[in-house]
């Protein structure tokens, strides 16, 4: 392994592959970004050209700012994403701890039941969910989205986290018990920090689909004051005319917060890996 790493040809090949992959992955983002700063004509005539003095225009951003309450949509998306992630991580980790740490009757069954949700897409139950939200009066509230996304994210979270928690040293938890720590303290202070990489993984996995989702916002919370960013951007896409300037600008701005969240979580991921040290 070390010889493979130090061999310059291998290193070059490895970096080459990674760079190509990065370019491919970033290309659409790059195209969206540059075109959001161009006039409509130029977008269609030369979609790959960089904006220059002639083609530069902020008209898309101006439209987005004027039309609809873009900052509110932004805020809604943010609240829904962060709220759902918080609940997924909190409840997922708690359930995972119970399943991996305590021996009780039906432990296995409970684990299987919780994992079942991974295989059954939640959208199948959309009608039932809508009926439920109507009867509880949660339609057109952000809570409707947060609850649905939490339910959607929990199965995988429990599955991944319980696997990781099984690997946390029993001795460490037992040392805590002998020193008089409560189960809650053991969970929050000893176990959670050690599974931080897994938490970050779960967060990243769940964050993107929630942020980008159109389905549930459209069905459960289409009201003006609860629109999410993705839903809000749809006003620019018409059946006959699409305001590409506005769509591209809205998308460019939507990328930013996800990027920031991602950077935060991946930091955690790296720190978690390098700071364990039980033995």
């Amino acid at each position: 392994m070390s010889s493979a790493r130090s061999n310059p040809i291998n290193t070059a090949a490895m970096h080459g592959a990674l760079i190509i992959y990065t370019l491919i992955a970033l290309f659409p983002v790059f195209v969206i970004l540059i075109n959001s700063f161009k006039t409509r004509k130029k977008i269609f005539r030369e979609p790959l050209a960089l904006p220059d003095a002639d083609s530069f225009s902020l008209v898309g951003y101006q439209t987005v700012m004027k039309q609809g309450d873009f900052f509110l949509y932004f805020q809604n998306s943010f609240i829904v994403t962060v709220g759902s992630l918080t609940l997924i991580l909190l409840f997922g980790a708690m359930a995972a701890f119970a399943l991996s740490e305590y021996r009780f009757r039906g432990n296995m069954l409970m684990g299987l039941y919780l994992a079942l949700g991974i295989m059954i897409p939640i959208r199948i139950g959309t009608v039932a969910i809508l009926e439920m939200m109507v009867s509880t009066g949660l339609v057109n509230t952000l809570w409707a989205l947060i609850l649905v996304y939490t339910a959607q994210g929990l199965p995988l979270a429990v599955f991944i986290l319980s696997e990781f928690m099984r690997q946390v040293s029993d001795d460490l938890k037992n040392a805590g018990r002998i020193d008089g720590l409560s189960e809650f303290t053991i969970f929050f202070k000893l176990v959670l920090p050690l599974v931080r990489p897994a938490l970050a993984t779960v967060a990243v996995f769940n964050m993107i689909p929630i942020w980008n989702d159109l389905w549930f916002p459209l069905i459960l919370a289409p009201a003006e004051e609860t629109k999410t960013l993705t839903l809000g951007s749809q006003v620019f896409i018409g059946q006959f005319v699409t305001d590409w300037n506005a769509v591209l600008s809205a998308l460019s701005m939507a990328i930013l917060p996800v990027l920031i969240l991602y950077v935060i979580f991946s930091r955690q991921l790296i720190r978690g890996i390098t700071s364990g040290a039980v033995k």
Binding site: N174, A175, I178, G276, A277
Partner: protein, 331 residues
């Protein structure tokens, strides 16, 4: 006074019966070592004493009180784990003082006890370091320090030395022996290393398959093992077992002889062919074949024996043991 009494302790995990009718009594100030092969239930026994596992039936008494229902932190015990199990988010001082903080001890007491423990274990320079910044030996000392500061009635050690290298293991072993002397505390120590057991223990408990095979002082067990298992487990190199029929026709029993009780003697009754010779300087170990059975002979001093050489042996007077086919001791 007895520091620890186990009465008919049984422990099952589901259908797996791990501990079977354990009865042990430990006196105040004693150093007791549980030994046995891997998987025999030593750790499980220690964890039931600590209260980390509930007993299925039976009674655990610490310092005269039945503690079956008492949580681990209230049992007056401290435990040192094989994997050190230091809290990664706390520095050495924090690791040592956590239990006292949980018990709501005053600041002065905590400081005093941490200072005392770090002096005993020479950890003074490391108090502000985090576990990830310490070597294996230092981590194990911190783990021991964390136990000392609690002033427990009972120390529990679960193979505390098995992650250390040979030289460090020997030093730490001496350190633990010193601690026992200084503190005069009762200690229960689990190991599968019979050298540790012999050197540290006042009393050894030999376990096999969740059962107590024999309890006694190291020399009692060495000189007077109750059965073939105990005889073979203690002592290094291990005792030789040969069919008694080699010496006496038709005898169905097994003869046990320690390697050091075999003597070179041209008129001896046992004929062996040496297969491998270990020259240790002070001793010479001859691993040899005796009618298809492997036996080890430990000769004092240096001997020029080649492999493949034929030798005659005799057994030192009164130094042989006889076990019946089930392993029970006959004489």
């Amino acid at each position: 006074m007895t520091a620890l009494t186990l009465t008919n302790v049984n422990k099952s995990f589901g259908n797996v019966h791990v501990l079977k009718d354990i009865n042990i009594e430990v006196n105040e100030g004693e150093f007791v070592v549980f030994v046995g092969p891997s998987g025999c239930g030593k750790s499980t026994l220690l964890r039931t004493i600590a209260g980390l596992e509930d007993v299925t039936s039976g009674e655990v008494c610490i310092a005269g009180n039945v503690v079956n229902q008492t949580p681990p932190s209230k049992r007056g015990i401290a435990m040192v784990f094989q994997s050190y199990a230091l809290y990664p988010h706390l520095n050495v001082r924090g690791n040592m003082s956590l239990a006292l903080k949980q018990a709501k001890e005053s600041k002065e007491t905590i400081e005093e006890r941490v200072a005392e423990a770090s002096r005993m274990l020479s950890l003074g320079d490391y108090l502000d370091r985090f576990p990830s910044e310490l070597s294996g030996g230092q981590r194990q000392r911190v783990a021991i320090g964390r136990a000392i500061v609690r002033h427990p009635k009972l120390f529990l050690f679960d193979e505390p030395l098995s992650n250390l290298d040979a030289a460090l293991r020997m030093n730490t072993r001496l350190e633990i022996a010193n601690l026992h002397e200084q503190l005069g505390a009762t200690m229960v120590y689990v190991t599968h290393d019979q050298t540790e057991a012999m050197t540290l223990a006042d009393k050894i408990v030999v376990l096999r398959d969740g059962r107590v095979e024999q309890i006694g002082s190291p020399m009692e067990l060495y000189n007077n093992p109750a059965n073939q298992f105990v005889a073979g487990f203690l002592g290094s190199p291990a005792m030789n077992f040969l069919p008694a029929a080699l010496l006496e026709d038709g005898n169905p029993n097994t003869l046990g002889v320690r390697p050091e009780d075999l003597m070179l003697d041209d008129a001896g009754p046992l004929q062996i062919t040496s297969k491998h010779v270990e020259h240790l300087g002070g001793d010479t170990n001859v691993i040899a074949d005796c009618n298809g059975h492997q036996i080890t002979v430990r000769l004092f001093g240096q001997h020029a024996i080649r492999s493949g050489q034929s030798l005659q042996l005799r057994i030192a007077e009164g130094k042989s043991y006889l076990f019946d086919p089930d392993g029970a001791r006959l004489s």
